[in-house]
């Protein structure tokens, strides 16, 4: 349970990170909160040659409003700790989601950028990102680019980020109405199913985590709502469309039933409960 040796680089700027990653030639990893990466290193599921510590880069933490009215959004710096996300009031849905991540000692270190980059299919923030249509700002050699959450998540623990790219921030639209519901075996455990409901610009979006390798939009459920259906009908339609995989934590029909119930609860919390 000890990490293999690595070279440690303490980056002072985003440029330092990009350069160090490029120099590492595919064998470098960003170290943010370490709450997912260090367990992986300790279990020797990975042994990168270089770790680039981004924790001391100034200006990458914090949540600030970005846009107003129908286009209201918040910009979340990559180094924003889960504890800070839970404490802010600009984006109540994000605050609620962050409170569900692990335990206090995990939230005091873990970062928003790290959670998005890690792309765990059961993690909370990726579901909020897909549910709200978040856009991720990425810095790479000689350029910055923006990528939508949908395009970022490529599979379980996989993203479309390049090996020498770093997430520097995430822009989350602020929903007019929202709901968040999660089912986990024990408090602080990774979710079995997470449902996020977000009404943005008059459209109700439903996103689910834990039912596939990436967070998914429940298109059938959204369609039911858009055409005047009830919350119960939307939840049933969304769940019928799912093809969850069974594992030791639950069979496929169990996950489907839980998903329907989580959607129903999230819709009720959003007061979309006709």
């Amino acid at each position: 349970m000890k990490c293999a040796p690595f070279d440690y680089v303490r980056a002072a700027t985003v440029d330092d990170v990009v350069t160090a990653l490029a120099d590492a030639d595919g064998d470098g990893k960003i170290l943010a909160g370490g709450q997912s990466l260090v367990p992986i290193l300790a279990l020797r599921m990975a042994r990168p040659a270089v770790l680039v510590d981004v924790n001391r880069i100034p200006g990458l933490g914090g949540v600030r409003p970005d846009g107003a009215g129908d286009g209201a959004a918040v910009h979340v710096g990559a180094l924003t700790r889960h504890s800070a996300l839970a404490a802010q009031s600009h984006h109540p849905l994000l605050a609620e989601a962050a409170r569900w991540i692990g335990h206090t000692a995990i939230r005091s270190r873990g970062t928003a950028g790290g959670s998005i980059a890690h792309a765990d299919p059961s993690a909370e923030l990726p579901v909020v990102a897909v549910g709200t249509g978040a856009v991720v700002t990425v810095s790479g050699p000689g350029r910055n680019r923006s990528v939508s959450a949908d395009e970022l998540f490529a599979g379980a623990l996989m993203t479309s980020l390049g090996e020498d790219e770093m997430i520097i921030g995430i822009r989350f639209p602020v929903p007019q109405r929202w709901g968040f519901a999660e089912f986990a075996r024990r408090h602080g455990d990774f979710a079995l199913v997470t449902a996020v409901v977000a009404e943005i610009g008059g459209t109700v979006r439903i996103a689910l985590g834990g039912v596939g390798s990436v967070p998914v939009r429940a298109a059938a459920g959204e369609q039911v709502l858009a055409t005047g259906g009830t919350a119960a009908e939307a939840a049933a339609a969304a769940s019928a469309e799912l093809r969850p995989t069974a594992d030791m934590h639950g069979s496929a029909p169990f996950r489907q039933a839980i998903a329907a119930e989580m959607i129903r609860r999230a819709l009720a919390q959003a007061r979309i409960d006709r």
Binding site: Y8, D53, I106
Partner: protein
């Protein structure tokens, strides 16, 4: 690699290998073996310490990352004269420990909880302590102890718990 930090108020300067976790460094280089290692991947909470006042899994942080920080471990709880901290007293009085393996992490998690909320109540105590696993006590004694310590600390110095 050179690192300097303070542990329980004492300045420490060390040359550490980057892959050494803060937990290993505290135990092996500083001789502070009160910080226990159970799972070494963030799940059990035995290694929980405070870094700049925030609870942290010492098994998930490298010692080089702690450069310039101020660290509190279980060894820092008792007074200079050996007088136990009210939390430690309460753990003894309420059967909050049996083998004691989980206790340092429990104490530091509880210390942070009471630092941020002097009157948490049993539900919040359960919630906040859920990141620390105990194989012995069945948790009732731990919740009792934290609850009792909260009351004792409130009676002792209202508004300021110290640490």
């Amino acid at each position: 690699m050179d690192v300097t930090f303070s542990v329980n108020g004492e300045r420490v300067r060390l040359d550490v290998e980057p892959r050494h976790t803060l937990a290993d460094t505290l135990r092996e280089d500083c001789g502070l073996t009160g910080t226990h290692l159970g799972c070494e991947h963030g799940v059990c909470g035995a290694c929980t310490i405070l870094v700049d006042g925030e609870p942290v899994r010492a098994c998930l942080m490298f010692a080089v990352q702690a450069d310039g920080s101020s660290i509190t471990t279980v060894e820092g709880l008792a007074g200079e004269d050996g007088q136990l901290h009210p939390l430690q007293e309460a753990f003894v009085a309420h059967h909050g420990l049996q083998c004691g393996f989980c206790t340092p992490g429990m104490l530091l998690s509880a210390l942070h909880l009471l630092d941020t909320d002097p009157d948490p109540g049993r539900t919040k105590i359960r919630e906040e302590m859920s990141g620390n696993i105990c194989r012995c006590t069945g948790y009732q004694g731990i919740v009792d102890a934290v609850d009792a310590a909260a009351a004792a600390l409130r009676a002792e110095e209202p508004g300021d718990l110290g640490s």
